[in-house]
């Protein structure tokens, strides 16, 4: 493998901000990325993740802060002088150029000699497994193949950094899973450094070494996938990481360092995040897969089943408590709609945040 990522040690974003007129799309973003990392920028639409990526690429000028590559300021350079490879959401392949010309475009712009370029193009084509398609136009390729061309075009220039802007969002579910594995394989094969923008938490969890969760233009949490999955920093991150069930109530002190939330005639214990005093308003959050049906006398949450969905290995149900809170739960057997059930959750799986 001779296509490799060029050497650099760190890319640092320091207090980076971007405003569109009076609107702050991004403010105070501090982030350091080390060579070889796969970093995912995760967040709902409009959170500033694509803005961050475009600022790093140089496609959007920043209005505050600075971006440093190994200590040198690069935020004043135009995109063509930064030399980062970018994969676009709609692929942005040049429609009038063949696959070979598309992949070779960056090499041509760099004045790489013909045979050297041909060799690297061939290698990039092999890397993304598009042998035999070199002379086709993008319009003759399927979505997945176009995506591969766009990845090959970005990595063939051996960029220090590969930027990917929701590259899988236009593909169907099956292809998305395949390409996800491909992207990780290519990242590992090249020893590349990748920044990957997505709104899909599964994608971020499975691909990234580190995940940066953005919301309203600020970083909410940075961590390894397992950290984010198990210990989200705040309610928004938790809800985004799949803590779909939420119960609001008043806290009381429980045993073993747990807090208890009293609500709906039931009490739920969980791990406290942040300072929660006795009697404070608090929120308990937990996942659907941790909420299960238990015997009626076990003292859980009483609720009526509203709907049940078949998910293959299990059933996911929606139940409504007396006060109207909707909870989703899992069960191994189908539950009748309209039945009254008692639901319980392991206190170790419940996060309690101050409201």
């Amino acid at each position: 493998m001779t296509i490799a990522s060029s050497r650099f040690d760190t890319l640092a974003l320091q207090g980076v901000g971007r405003s569109f007129g009076p609107v702050n799309a991004l403010h105070g973003v501090d982030l350091t990325i080390r060579r070889g990392e796969f970093v995912a920028l995760l967040g709902p639409s409009g959170c500033g993740k694509s803005t961050t990526l475009n600022c790093i690429a140089g496609l959007l000028p920043i209005t505050n802060g600075q971006i440093l590559l190994d200590g040198k300021r690069i935020d004043t350079l135009p995109p063509e002088d930064r030399g980062f490879g970018m994969v676009f959401q709609n692929y942005a392949l040049f429609p009038h150029m063949t696959v070979r010309q598309n992949i070779g475009f960056g090499l041509r712009m760099r004045g790489i000699a013909k045979d050297e370029a041909a060799r690297r193009i061939e290698e990039a084509v092999r890397l993304v497994r598009l042998q035999g398609q070199e002379d086709k136009l993008p319009g003759q390729l399927s979505g997945g193949q176009q995506q591969r061309v766009s990845i090959a075009r970005a990595v063939v220039i051996e960029p220090p950094l590969v930027l990917m802007d929701e590259p899988l969002s236009n593909l169907d579910a099956k292809l998305r899973l395949e390409m996800r594995a491909e992207i990780r394989r290519i990242h590992n094969a090249l020893g590349a450094t990748t920044i990957y923008v997505t709104h899909d938490q599964d994608e971020a969890l499975s691909l990234a070494d580190r995940i940066v969760v953005l919301r309203d233009g600020t970083i909410r949490q940075i961590g390894r996938p397992s950290e984010l999955y198990e210990a989200p920093a705040d309610i928004d991150v938790a809800e985004f990481m799949g803590f779909r069930n939420r119960i609001d109530g008043r806290s009381t002190k429980g045993e073993n360092g747990l807090v208890r939330i009293e609500a709906d005639g039931a009490s739920i214990s969980g791990k406290a995040n942040g300072r929660i005093a006795d009697g404070d308003a608090a929120v308990a959050l937990f996942r659907a897969e941790d909420l299960t049906i238990c015997p009626d006398d076990a003292g859980g949450i009483r609720a009526t089943v509203d709907a049940v969905e078949y998910r293959g290995r299990e059933f996911v149900g929606l139940a409504r408590t007396k006060s109207g809170t909707v909870l989703s739960f899992t069960s191994e057997t189908a539950t009748e709609v309209g039945r009254d059930v008692t639901l319980s959750v392991d206190p170790g799986r419940v996060l309690v945040f101050p409201a």
Binding site: E80, N90, Y91, P95, M109, L137, G143, I157
Partner: protein, 298 residues
């Protein structure tokens, strides 16, 4: 529960569909009739008229045209003004369109540009008669700036026609160019930039090849308009000299010599020349990529 189906005849459209005729297509008939009456009939009539000359055999008019330099030179006089004007307006329109596509208040600019189209050639020609004249603002400004000492002659010659065609034709060319330029997916330019292409190379390698088909059509439409120049060639040009365009020759044949047959022949020749140029440009266009100008499958 029984559903009763009325035993009436199926609708006309359904009956036609059964015979593989799409009823909606029949809506084309009125338009087709208009085209036949207003275009096909006069054209065929003119063609036949041109083949029945006052004297001589059926091709006598055409032979007369191509043997008399006073007549056949009008083709070159017309090409001489219409081709440069068309090319120049495209060359001017392109960079302006590139800048304007990034503007927020495009509508104001397009409104300003549409006004000359609505004024019509005659009014613009009248205006230019004053403006470009020896005592007009243009010459006076140049003298005041010290660029010239005596007024330069811009009227009743080639340049008067040139200026008038450029002014009246430019908005049209520009608006078409703008729509083609805006039609190129902006992501392509961004992709080219991240791959190391500066503005000049982005234009040369990405925009230009994608714009060629549009510019070719644009050229054809502007050229056809400019080739049929008549009012400005008479009002601002030298209708007996260097701007004796082919339309003047046709007009003189038909309405000064009362030879409608010859007039028709010249008109037909005019159409053929236009067709040849358009065909040539479209043939060149076919050498280039013609397809979607976006970076993804639609």
């Amino acid at each position: 529960m029984a559903i009763s189906i009325p035993a009436s005849r199926p609708k006309l459209r359904q009956r036609l569909a059964l015979r593989q005729i799409d009823g909606v297509t029949l809506l084309l008939l009125p338009a087709l009739l208009v085209v036949v009456l207003l275009f096909v009939y006069p054209f065929a009539y003119g063609l036949l008229l041109s083949l029945r000359p006052k004297v001589g055999g059926f091709a006598a008019n055409y032979i007369a045209f191509f043997t008399d330099p006073y007549l056949y030179n009008t083709i070159f006089a017309t090409l001489n003004v219409s081709v440069p004007v068309t090319v120049l307006s495209l060359i001017l329109a392109l960079p302006i369109a590139f800048r304007v596509r990034l503007l927020k208040h495009q509508r104001l600019l397009t409104t300003i540009l549409v006004i000359p189209i609505t004024l019509g050639t005659v009014l613009v020609a009248e205006g230019l008669l004053n403006y470009l004249g020896p005592q007009g603002w243009f010459n006076r400004t140049l003298i005041w700036l010290g660029l010239i000492h005596s007024p330069i002659r811009l009227l009743h010659n080639y340049w008067g026609v040139f200026a008038s065609l450029l002014i009246t034709g430019f908005p049209f060319t520009f608006l078409m160019t703008l729509s083609y330029v805006s039609g190129v997916d902006p992501a392509l330019e961004r992709a080219a930039a991240t791959l190391g292409a500066n503005a000049g190379r982005r234009f040369w390698h990405i925009f230009l090849p994608l714009l060629v088909p549009g510019l070719a059509i644009n050229f054809c439409l502007s050229f056809v308009q400019n080739f049929s120049v008549f009012p400005s060639a008479v009002l601002l040009g030298a209708p007996a000299g260097e701007t004796r365009v082919i339309a003047i020759a046709a007009y003189q044949a038909a309405f000064e010599h009362y030879d409608y047959s010859m007039g028709s022949a010249i008109a037909i020749i005019m159409g053929v020349v236009q067709l040849l140029v358009v065909g040539l440009v479209l043939a060149v266009r076919n050498l280039f990529y013609r397809g979607s100008t976006t970076g993804a499958k639609g």
